[in-house]
Amino acid sequence: MQTCYKASAWLMAIPLLVLFLGFTIYPFFYMIGISFTNCNLSAWEVPKWVGLKNYATIFDDLVAAGSVEFTILLVLIAVPLEMLLGLFVAFLIDDVVGESFWRSIVVLPMMIPPVVAGIAWKMLYNFQYGPVNYFLSFFGIHRISWLGDPVMARVGVIIADVWQWTPFVFLVLYSGLQSVPQDLIEAASVDGASRWHTIRYVHLPVIRPLVWVVLIIRLVDVLKLFDIVYMVTFGGPGSATHTISYYIYKVGLSFGWDIGYASALSVLLLIAVVLLTNVLIRVLNVRQLLGL
């Protein structure tokens, strides 16, 4: 009886299995295969096996190194900023009058499509007429070429990413703070704990698992960063704001059509993502979440 049901349960999962086998598993093996060839979509010749040549090229590729460097910068600067700011805003809003009003404004950036956010930031960063340069002029800072200067363009992308994703960190951690039992907080204050001590010993332990979850999700998402870069800087100036995703796109499907090389890059990116995902699965306690 039970086995019979289990068999029909697998039948129900067939559409998903087809989708995933056909559009993820098969393509991946296909991609790993291509990464060992010199497949190029703009050339008319049959792809040839070139072994590890594509992988070897990566280490001599300065633009690839630059895009890895920028991605690492995002990981080291944007993600920690988002985490700290998100945590800070969560505690701040948890503690003021009109929580839901403030909350619904702060979460807006994560609700808009990244492409549209890109438009907004492109306008704000405009050299001649942009409001950002106008605000800076109050502080006596002369017009900054946000999109023309390699360093400032990177800063610009980081700010836009922080703007869009801090709300996500905030919302997750804020919802965690809501679940801190009120009597614990009261007990702490009766015992004479300062605000800081209450945060340190009552709030933080409760939201710690969420901090890990949101941190890993942000790390993986930053590796995927594409839309904002495409819209705001178009990867420029030069290749200053190429992220890994953007560079793969450019090499494989936009300017180079060198699918072989782009696949090799993707395989490496995938390895990084798989490692992070494994950490996440451990942290999430999947078994309990799904009731397995």
Partner: protein
């Protein structure tokens, strides 16, 4: 002393709120600015003249700027609606079937569950490369079907995951009662489980809609003409143009943003549940 600290707190909060809200405010007002206000110094923060010409295409622009109007957006808008709706419905359907199987019969166990998570983590670019090659062999490039299939790969894991958490909350005794009464599994699923999880289904469909509507990379790669391109691609093409007419661009952005933002705000809690794999329930 205490009140100074309080005031300081609100000032800080206000500054943060301005930071988060200002870019959206700017987008909205630019969409309604007359063309002489697009480029002005100091920038026009509180416009006194408003126009809907940016939406209608009557506001013109300036010499050599890209012309745009609702009429030129229409094909993209309708593509977006078709793609997002089909994606939403299909991923709700596929997701609910699988979720039921996992929730009640634990098929695939941890492996299946981890697999679904890893698809969520998958960088779209890594999927886009082989999908592009595959679809070009199948002659599916530049069709709406190709985008829908591409989007389904990313939305279905979400849908499945969220629905598993919903189905787990429905008492198992209900299924068993139905089985005892002689209902088949599909029958039980359709007439017992689905009606009880209607809010979950609505949430899942809206989330898939949101994801599909705003998705950029896959749609960019898989399409090449107005026959199948979605709104975000239209915006992307627009912005890389040489002289950008800000008003119409912001107007087009607003059209893209409004449906998603509305949905997201309504579905906030489920959105969060989906984004964090149910680690957050509030």
């Amino acid at each position: 002393m205490h009140s100074i600290k309080e005031i300081f707190k609100y000032i800080l909060l206000l500054a943060l709120v301005i930071f988060f809200f200002f870019p959206i405010y700017w987008l909205i007002i630019t969409a309604f600015k007359v063309s002489s206000d697009w480029f002005d110094w100091p920038p026009v923060f509180i416009p006194t003249r408003f126009t809907i010409g940016n939406f209608l295409g009557t506001e013109g622009g300036f010499q050599g700027s890209l012309a745009t109007a609702i009429s030129s957006i229409t094909p993209y808008l309708s593509n977006s609606i078709v793609v997002a709706l089909v994606t939403a419905l299909a991923s709700m359907l596929i997701g609910s079937l699988t979720a039921y199987a996992i929730s009640r019969f634990k098929i695939g166990g941890m492996f299946f569950a981890s697999w679904i998570i890893s698809i969520r983590m998958l960088p779209p670019i890594a999927a886009a490369l082989p999908l592009y090659v595959m679809f070009s062999h199948l002659n599916l490039l530049n069709t709406k079907l190709s985008i829908i299939l591409g989007h389904l790969v990313f939305t279905t894991p979400f849908s499945t995951w969220i629905l598993i958490t919903f189905f787990n909350d429905i008492p198992r005794e209900l299924d068993e009662a139905a089985y005892v009464d002689g209902a088949s599994m599909i029958r039980t699923f359709v007439s017992v489980i689905l009606p009880l999880s209607a809010p979950g289904l609505a949430a899942v469909a809206s989330l898939a809609f949101i994801q599909s509507w705003g998705e950029f990379l896959l749609a960019l790669i898989l399409t090449s003409s107005a026959e199948s391109q979605t709104l975000p691609i239209y915006l992307g093409r627009f912005i890389t143009g040489w002289r950008i007419a800000w008003g119409p661009l912001a107007a087009a952005g607003l059209v893209t943003m409004v449906p998603v933002m509305t949905f997201s705000l309504i579905m906030q809690r489920y959105l969060l549940r989906g984004l964090t794999f149910g680690a957050v329930k509030y």
